[in-house]
Assembly symmetry: C2
Homo-oligomer: 310 residues x 2
């Protein structure tokens, strides 16, 4: 592998309680690393995957990072260039932390960097979303956009990739706890009714709008009053053991709000200040630990950088 | 009537396409005027109502302005003070422009001013909403809050009156056309399904969030892309003759977006600049006029002041 480039892309929290399918933010850690370099052999190859217990495909077309990078190369008319890719999964998958999105984001950023930055990050988004689609089935940017671009992201519309950075108060931290239980994405989908009562739709809208205003004004009390998901969380909570106890522990320890990260089983809490974040995270962990469920805590500022060349 | 006080409270546009029950903004005109002064007779009396064709009750308890003012006096332990009130309706009612809300707002501001300002406007809101409830049946601030406070208002939650000013780009104008047709509030309610499909709820959420971000960043293109009501407007449009033609005329003439004001039949368009606002308003009027429907145009900046003592 010559001229090799290493890229880190962070995990992300999608939905963020009040923005099902339209909000997501990036974490400082965990995340995936991807290494690419030129090779003598024609075309893109995945030469190694670590950290995935053999569960991810080496076949480029079936791999989120591989497919995303391949679509980018196709767009640039550079499919024939010899590129080797190593994928180092450094985060759990099926965790609700946007693992496949992180790989897709890292893949396109790495190949773009290797080729001398023909596109900017905004232009890369479409290809990363195509990669994510391999894993997820849907053309959805709520994990990919934060993982690639960093920040707290609003997706007005997924099909147009009408994607926007929201303001972030400096002191906003996320405590995310990943319990070692399995929630199948299919179950997380199947459990959702395709109808919402109008009253709840209005309530969620008020909370969503107020959350954004709270971010804008660094109004932590308003953020806290707004962080209530009355539509998705009540339907999905049953899939995560001890969810409501964990949530109560987070709020009691001072969290602004607490809900399911993506489709779960990870649970995130937003907090004012790192110290509160740590206390909240430990309180959440305690509930899982007492129930005999292994778990990891990720404490993080909101990541402003997204995927970066190391 | 001694020491008399005159108050103007403006009309308002509720719902604003993407914020059913949670957004509203105030207009510079039209609006209602209320005059109050001390009298020798004990208690609050409504001595005159003009501009209502005898359709509004003189009985204090049945009149939005009277009831709102009476509730305020009760709260202040001043029910016995002799106060005469004149109500001068200077806007159409049943128009979707918040006529009863304007009267309620004007009523409490006038009585509060007469008594030497014991409460601030935020504290008056509850009493004005109680007045509006007489007309509307619901404890809803989406017209009352803008009429009282001015601005573009977000109501996170009506029952707590968790009410917030949103940022407003300087150059934002509203063209509002009131066609002389009747839409019964009951019909406007009955036509709404109490269920929303999840997909539309997500789409509306994306638009709502992006509209607020657009206001914040004075991003008129984003405001324009966001001003689409996919839930309420499609259900209520049938109640307003020529609605879609008026909307098309507005957008063709350069409106950022166009939808139903409150429960209708008035139609509002948001525009960048007064000149565009005027052209848009005239284009909207033309459609009604060609259909033989009398109509009035109100062209206005977003009113920042709300109810004011004259």
């Amino acid at each position: 592998m010559s001229n090799s480039i290493r890229v880190f892309a962070p995990a992300s929290v999608a939905n963020v309680a009040v923005g099902f399918d339209i909000l997501g933010f990036a974490l400082d850690k965990p995340g995936d690393e991807i290494k690419v370099g030129f090779s003598d052999q024609q075309g893109l190859r995945i030469t190694a995957i670590t950290g995935a217990d053999g569960k991810l495909p080496l076949v480029v077309e079936k791999n989120t990072a591989g497919f995303a990078a391949q679509q980018l190369l196709k767009h640039l008319n550079k499919e024939d260039i010899g590129i080797d890719m190593e994928i180092h999964k450094k985060m759990p998958f099926g965790s609700g932390l946007g693992s496949s999105a992180a790989s897709a984001a890292a893949g396109v950023v790495a190949v773009n960097a290797l080729l001398g930055y023909p596109l900017n990050k905004q232009e890369l988004l479409h290809f990363a979303v195509l990669g994510e689609q391999i894993a997820d089935g849907a053309y959805h940017a709520d994990n990919v956009a934060p993982s690639l671009l960093g920040g707290m992201i609003l997706i007005r519309n997924n099909s147009d990739l009408d994607v926007h950075q929201l303001p972030i108060p400096d002191d906003l931290y996320a405590a995310v706890v990943h319990p070692d239980v399995e929630v199948l994405t299919k179950d997380a989908r199947d459990v959702l009714s395709d109808q919402v009562c109008l009253k709840k739709c209005i309530e969620q809208g008020g909370n969503l709008a107020a959350f954004i205003l709270g971010l804008m004004n660094s109004d932590f009390e308003l953020i806290s009053r707004s962080l209530h998901d009355v539509i998705i969380e009540p339907q999905r909570a049953q899939l995560i053991p001890n969810f409501y106890d964990v949530k109560e522990a987070a709020v009691t320890a001072g969290a602004l709000g607490c809900s399911i990260s993506g489709a779960g089983p990870s649970i995130f809490a937003l907090c004012q200040g790192e110290e509160t974040g740590r206390a909240v995270g430990q309180a959440m962990q305690s509930v899982f630990s007492r129930a005999g469920i292994e778990n990891q805590l990720y404490l993080s500022n909101i990541n402003r950088d997204g995927a970066v060349v190391l």
